[in-house]
Symmetry: C2
Subunit: 331 residues, 2 copies
């Protein structure tokens, strides 16, 4: 609100003033000149410069950001890696107020992790979910050569909300200045036959072919817990259907493929009505990074790790502790 004010004033006078402040501030902060030097080059008094700089800061012309590093808990990381035989883990330190806050920070951590691993020529597969959305937001734009982004699972229809749906692959591609391949198909179809038909379609076949060859897959991990079950929230399943899913032992899903607490893939219709990569192809991808936050996801994470649906995990302390507890460890 305050920042908007800066640019809002259509007054030419004020525009001049702001340009002046910005120029002085640039000399001071970016060119490291002393106030004395600046005063001389503008032919004004030194104290005037001091006051101009104060004004520039007060009016938001100068913005100072402190980047706090993301601290991780090496101990929990080590334990997760050992307990589940995964390749890597990052566990964000600290406690957070809200689920949204956890997602934002885990997303940042995941973004740094991903940035460190991305190389020219890679194919990146991506599913969807709040954590991935936050991750992509936190990725710093960079140019790569021959990188491509591929959707791993189908997308919603015309009413796509920003946090879930086909936008993620595009957003990521935008950040990396590369192209993206979408799956123009619903995530879940009503009948297995419809799925079979769609899977034969040329561009779906092609995109899924690319998905299977992904060098890195970035996936969210969903829980079937009431109130947190994405497929219900996104309108794919009714609450009754969700009950059934839970009744058959499903604790979570990766790429809409459901499994139980021990990671056993569940052979029920829902798992066979998904337009997207299947659980076996997913397991064949070298690097599958699960990005997920919050204690509520613990059971789903446990299953995902036990079932080898992901082989690297980015999460927060609370979730990590609970996962290890579920695995019978004392924390």
């Amino acid at each position: 609100m305050e920042r908007t004010k800066i640019y809002d004033t259509s007054n030419a006078r004020d525009e001049e003033r702001l340009a002046y402040l910005a120029q002085v501030a640039t000399m001071y902060y970016e060119e490291q000149k002393t106030q004395q030097e600046i005063a001389k080059s503008f032919g004004i008094s030194r104290s005037g410069v001091s006051r101009l700089i104060s004004e520039a800061r007060a009016r938001g012309v100068v913005e100072i950001i402190v980047h706090h590093p993301l601290k991780t808990n090496k101990n929990l990381e080590e334990r997760l890696i050992r307990a589940f035989g995964i390749k890597d883990a990052r566990v964000l330190r600290g406690r957070y107020e809200s689920y949204q806050e956890v997602l934002a920070w885990v997303g940042k951590l995941a973004a740094r992790y991903f940035e460190e691993r991305l190389r020219d020529g890679m194919t990146i597969g991506i599913s969807w979910g709040g954590a991935l959305y936050e991750m992509i937001r936190a990725i710093r734009p960079r140019e790569f050569r021959n990188v491509e982004v591929v959707q791993l699972i189908g997308a919603t229809g015309a009413e796509a909300t920003p946090t879930s749906g086909p936008i993620l692959a595009q957003l990521l591609a935008e950040r990396l200045h590369c192209r993206s391949y979408q799956l123009h198909a619903p995530l879940i179809v009503k009948e297995e036959r419809a799925r079979a038909a769609l899977m034969q379609e040329r561009h779906i076949k092609e995109t899924l072919g690319r998905a299977r060859r992904a060098d890195i897959a970035i996936v969210g991990i969903g829980t079937t817990s009431p109130g947190y079950y994405s497929l219900v929230r996104a309108g794919y399943l009714s609450e009754e259907e969700a009950q059934e899913v839970r009744a058959s032992g499903a604790v979570g899903d990766v790429c809409a493929q459901h499994y139980d607490l021990q990671g056993r893939w569940l052979d029920f219709p829902l798992n066979r009505c998904v337009i997207g990569i299947n659980h076996e192809d997913l397991r064949r991808i070298d690097n599958v990074i699960g990005v997920v936050g919050g204690e509520v996801k613990a059971a789903a994470i446990h299953g995902a790790l036990r079932g080898n649906y992901v082989n690297a995990l980015i999460t927060d302390e609370a979730a990590a502790r609970k996962v290890l507890q579920l695995d019978g460890q004392r924390i």
Copy 2:
């Protein structure tokens, strides 16, 4: 294993250090404490604090940004408004190195302009193009009530590049935390009949209905000049087809509707094969903001203004001057 350990410990060390630097920097820059106070509360020497702050700046933990205001040329704005009877104009001052740079700055200017005009409850229509992409990037995220974003024209297929295509509506919706309505259809079809059929489809009909009721439309202005003709660059037209288009007098397009230098809509097949809002419906929208940069676009801008396809223009000085010249004025 050993290597991992080494990597991890050095990492942990550094992480600690950065956290320390960030903490000190926060106290200094955000909480406005003096170095003396900080030294006391950490139990270190004052000169140590001074050195830590230097280190924090050198290592990028502290980032200082100076926001230069966007200066505009009121004189040229006034002349454009008078010459073409448009509602408003913003003409960015200054000369720029590259076309990309012009786009980035014009985009910023357009973003500020748009932010000032956006209100709760509005429907925003959007086409595509490099300038709009830059504009959306420059929009500061904000929450609105009942705002919706609607695509004005069809989108590309699976191979969408980030700067052009269906991503723009989604990106904008993300910035405004609102929903978006896409046109899941190609921008240009081969036959008029195919267009008629598609236009009957429910969700296309519905989205275009919303588009017609837009309170603000934000559009790029395309030129047919060789090397800059977006429809060729995006693969919709071959170079031969482009030649034909130019031969029939087309200098530019708004929402893929082509017109000549005097703004006369061209009654040729291409204009009737577009899935999107038509030129007459576009003219009925209250606020159509053209966002466009670069001298090369001058003829296209002239036509767009003469033909009333846009009624507000955001552009740069070089383009504005050339447009006025084309209109027979001395600059």
